[in-house]
Amino acid sequence: MNVTDASQTDSRQSPGAIPPPSYRTMVWHHFRKNRLAVAGLWATVALVAVALLAPLLANDRPLVARLDGRWSLPLLAPAAAEANRDWHDLRRPGGFPWQTGFGRGGDFALWPPVPFSPTEYDLLQSLSPPTRIHWFGTDDRGRDVLSRMIHGARISLSVGFVAVGLALMIGICSGALAGYFGGWVDQVISRVIEIILTIPTFFLIIAIIAFLPPSIYNIMAVIGLTGWTGVARFVRAEFLKLKQVDFVMASRALGASHGRIIFLHMLPNAMAPVLVSAVFGIAGAILTESSLSFLGFGVPPPTPSWGDILSQSRDYIEFAWWLTSFPGLAIFLSITAYNLVGEGLRDAMDPKLFQ
């Protein structure tokens, strides 16, 4: 028994038998063992799905309807065909999502799970606590909080992804240049990073946002432009190490251009810490966006965002617990999910695990 085991081990180690698992496989293997991180990953996937499918999940028009014997997809053709058809009259709260019994026999409507649009208001229903119809209650204009939160996920996630994308581009390029060339290039970039570190970022962001016309793109740009220093420092450190490694020396000796060495040879090897800080960066950007909306510097109304609902809740703080709890919980859970994934990735990439 022992003999066969030993021979198997030997054959495995012999060259050409079974290749060792790739770096990616090993990271994934370690990541999967961390149950919390996997839960975080699922939560982020679910959030992205909610954001992408928001119009299908919360809307004031049916997904599919048969009216007067004609089939229609009210969501897809809202402007032309459905303009004079007001679905609000037909909507009977409580009977969702499947509704029959109006018009001629056999007519029906299939509604989204939350049959309210995020901007549709009903002053008679304002500040209603959670009910069977408005699951998460309504705000001071009678808008459905759950619907606003589902559509608000789009704002949070798009700000998170775009701002971090911008920060990654600036951070990777400046960090790579600083680490690769060293000398005065490094000095200049390091000083710029130090300047951004010393300036009170959050205050600078609200000052700039307050001066610019209100727009989600300005928020993305400002968060991205102030948030790249962490990535730059990681990439710089990684490039300083990589510069001394044989394969970089070899490609330089072969006459490869700087651009080719930086982007083709070194960058793929420096991506691990970048990935981790990108994931943490998304959590940070979601937090910054919701803080901005909370302070009233967020996306212009009536676009729904989580921080905006929370900031409304301050006017009714004595009793409107549903306006405070649900959007806050959404912010907390999405930040937690991204932080869990980031932490899981960082631990899974820890070189000590591979020894």
Binding site: T198, F203, I206, A210, T324
Partner: protein
């Protein structure tokens, strides 16, 4: 050592220039210009009718802030004013900006110093416990708890605390407005102090828990790293008691990065103060900054940005020097 110091001090010069440049950009970025903003404010007072008069005000204000000169000259004038700490007067009430800041600073410092003190007081023992009992039940619980605490947005916590503990339909335990009761200035200190502390509980809690969670996780990680080092094993194997090994040998190195972090923390907390002070109506620097942004009070915005950047720069410098002094491994290159 002195070579390192000189080099580090020289590096400050370009950073200083950069800071003045960024703050200068803020005022250039402003739509219209400060002269127009000031004019709008005057307009709210109802003196807008005469357009010649309007023009005169614009010209006066432009001259006052040097806005009639070419950009490079404007920049040099701004640098000169920063160097002499001349930040002008507030648009809102025409009082010197420095006076306004000096009046607001003590309360922000008070809150942040209490908060930082609590962060270190609580985080380090928890960090030590977690690092010396790795993977134990309490370590897992603490690590997980601090993780969730770290992800909690402080403005949400503040609103929740106000809702559930500050009156309204739920419990009424803590005051949620300002830093003292009305008329408390005339009370004797033994009545004033408890009242002040009672007012500070919620804002300080909101400012503290995030740093606490971050720091104790950091302390655990750093200490765990150190405890695995050879010299700690040596100390153990030569028969020193666990207490001496941990508190005398491991802690000194393990807490080094955490102590030097202190220099970073104080200015960093200013960002948190902006939100927390405006939620709890605390008349500090954060609220001053927030109000200045709302009313486009450029001199105040620029002064606050510049002063906190300078303070952070000093903090950075101190932490680098402290690190170099405490850790001889830092190379002088």
């Amino acid at each position: 050592m002195s070579a390192y110091l000189i080099k580090r001090l020289l590096q400050i010069i370009p950073t200083l220039v950069g800071i003045t440049f960024v703050t200068f950009l803020i005022i250039q970025l402003a739509p219209g210009n400060p002269a127009l903003v000031k004019l709008q404010m005057a307009g709210e007072g109802g003196e807008m009718a005469d357009s010649a008069y309007t023009r005169q005000i614009i010209d006066q204000t432009r001259k006052l802030y040097g806005l009639d000169k070419p950009l490079p000259i404007q920049y040099l004038l701004w640098v000169k004013r920063v160097m002499t700490f001349d930040f002008g007067t507030s648009y809102k009430d025409h009082r010197p900006v420095l006076d306004k800041i000096a009046e607001r600073l003590p309360i922000t410092l008070q809150i942040n110093i209490i908060s930082i003190f609590l962060v270190y007081l609580i985080a380090i023992p928890f960090g030590i416990y977690s690092a010396t009992h790795p993977e134990s039940f309490w370590d897992r619980l603490l690590t997980l708890g601090f993780f969730f605490l770290y992800s909690l947005p402080s403005f949400w916590v503040a609103v929740l605390l106000i809702m559930f503990l500050g009156g309204g339909d739920f419990w009424d335990v803590f005051p949620v407005y300002g830093v003292s009761s009305i008329g408390a200035e005339t009370w004797p200190w033994w009545a004033w102090l408890p009242d002040r502390l009672w007012h500070l509980v919620l804002p300080v809690a909101c400012l503290t828990y995030g740093g606490l969670a971050y720091l104790s996780r950091l302390a655990r990680a750093e200490l765990l790293e150190v405890i695995r080092e050879d010299y700690v094993r040596t100390a153990r194997s030569k028969g020193l008691s666990e207490r001496v090994v941990i508190f005398k040998h491991a802690l000194r190195n393990g807490l080094l990065p955490i102590v030097t972090l202190l220099a970073f923390l104080l200015p960093a907390m200013f960002g948190g103060s902006v939100i927390i002070e405006s939620i709890f109506s605390i008349p500090g620097m954060g609220q001053l900054g927030f109000e200045a942004v709302l009313s486009r009070d450029y001199p105040v915005i620029m002064a606050i940005t510049t002063i906190s950047a300078l303070l952070t720069l000093i903090g950075l410098l101190l932490s680098d020097i402290l690190y170099a002094l405490l850790d001889p491994r830092i190379k002088l290159e």
